[in-house]
């Protein structure tokens, strides 16, 4: 899609659409169609990584993931001999992976060619070829891979994760799904101020909850442990409105819970009766927040929902939705039932499917932004500033 658009512009300039024609004010963000390198990305569930290699593309890099003993390994998924994917091979010796074609065998830790089965034990090429390896880590029941910018050492994964997920025990349910559309549309949609109250008003997850009609919102930077995040702060929430010459619009229905009188910043449908102490302790200024390289956090009174938009290539990403409840002991069973019976179908399924639909069909730039899109431009600025700092260091 991105290539097609570039060609269309070069060959026959299209009719000019209103508004901003490109993302040139954010050059790094504009260039990151296939994702930002220099970050950790969740790839798949830990239990899915076994001794049988599997193939993934993350931020444009083709990766073979394999488990040896208790440790996971990631290698560039291409045998330098003839370009065959190593993920089609298997493990002939402990601690190695062998190409399915001629048995070129690589050490999983270093990526060094350590045996060539079809050229004998004294093969002269042995030890002279390397495949690139990637650092892996296991967090939140998933395998994460660090995609480097160059040859640098990986950053600390725990500094990239939301602090509350590093410091507290919890129970979580999650869904990993390949999705069409650029990862930036995923991130922008997640933090988009205007969309949820209108797009999701028909979702089953919101069938008994009134969604606002419109809000007055600010975006503020986080502080302390949240200094890498930006927050959406709702200053005013309107549940109905008269639109001159058109009519009245509201999402209020007789079967839905009545909206609260005052404005609040945890959740977006009702005044919370009780807020989880771990969530209270975080002191989030707003219920929606976003950080690099595309991590969305939506704080509800009793759980937090996260979305990780993992870039695959310019036209595809992986959606990783995680619902977290800060409980231990028998209370976790209640969450299991709730997640497996309802949340994964209603929230991570139907509700989130509406986002997937929009992300797939979004086609920008050009774009003519409106007042609530301060959420989009603030995110682009955050991405631009953080990545500029990262490559400068």
């Amino acid at each position: 899609m991105w290539e097609d658009r570039a060609m269309a512009t070069a060959d026959a300039p299209a009719r000019r659409e209103p508004g901003r024609q490109d993302w040139s004010p954010w050059p790094h963000y504009n260039a990151a169609a296939a994702g930002f390198k220099g970050y950790w990305y969740p790839v798949t569930w830990s239990s899915k990584v076994t001794g049988k290699p599997s193939a993934f593309t993350i931020a444009g890099e083709k990766i073979a993931l394999v488990r040896d003993g208790r440790k996971t390994y990631a290698l560039h998924d291409r045998c330098p001999h003839r370009g065959v994917p190593l993920s089609l091979g298997n493990q002939q010796f402990p601690g190695t992976i062998s190409c399915p074609y001629h048995g070129w065998t690589y050490n999983l830790e270093s990526g060094r060619l350590c045996a060539v089965i079809t050229d004998g034990p004294k093969s002269p090429i042995n030890g002279k070829v390397n495949v690139r390896t990637y650092q892996t880590a296991e967090r939140l029941g998933m395998v994460w891979v660090y995609i480097p910018i160059g040859e640098e050492e990986p950053t600390d994964i725990d500094e990239q994760l939301p602090a509350e997920l590093v410091e507290n025990p919890f129970v979580m349910g999650g869904r990993i799904e390949p999705r069409a559309g650029n990862w930036r549309f995923g991130a922008e949609n997640g933090f988009d101020e205007g969309h949820a109250k209108y797009l999701h008003r028909t979702s089953l997850w919101r069938i008994f909850k009134t969604m606002p009609t419109w809000n007055l919102t600010r975006v503020v930077p986080g502080e302390g442990a949240n200094s890498r995040w930006i927050f959406r702060v709702q200053d005013e929430v309107y549940w109905e409105a008269d639109f001159p010459g058109v009519g009245r619009w509201t999402n209020k229905r007789w079967w839905k819970s009545q909206p609260p009188k005052e404005t609040f910043n945890i959740g977006n449908t009702g005044k919370p009766k009780k807020i989880d102490p771990v969530i209270t302790q975080q002191g989030f200024p707003g219920f929606a927040s976003l950080s690099m390289p595309g991590i969305l956090r939506i704080a509800y009174p009793n759980f937090i929902h996260y979305e990780f938009y993992v870039p695959v290539d310019a036209d595809n990403h992986r959606y990783v939705g995680v619902m977290v409840n800060f409980t231990e002991g028998w209370q976790t069973l209640r969450f299991y039932v709730k997640y497996l019976g309802a949340i994964r179908w209603l929230f991570h399924g139907n509700f989130s499917g509406q986002d997937a639909w929009m992300v797939d069909v979004t086609d920008a730039p050009p774009e003519r932004l409106y007042r609530p899109d301060v959420s989009l431009t603030a995110w682009r600025k955050l991405a631009e500033d953080e990545y500029s700092r990262r490559i400068a260091s």
């Binding site: 939140l140 410091e167 025990p169 999650g174 990993i176 299991y336 497996l340 994964r344 399924g349």
Partner: protein, 38 residues
């Protein structure tokens, strides 16, 4: 009698079809739950 037979038939069809359909949907959803201890 007709009604009972129809009910039994629909019941049997549901009992036969529902588990594989649910299994298929669960697999497609690629969901997992985890307890995380720090």
């Amino acid at each position: 009698v007709k009604k009972t037979l129809l009910t039994l038939l629909i019941g049997a069809a549901l009992a036969a079809l529902a588990p594989p359909l649910i299994r298929k949907a669960v697999r497609a959803s690629n969901t997992q739950v985890h307890r995380i201890h720090q």
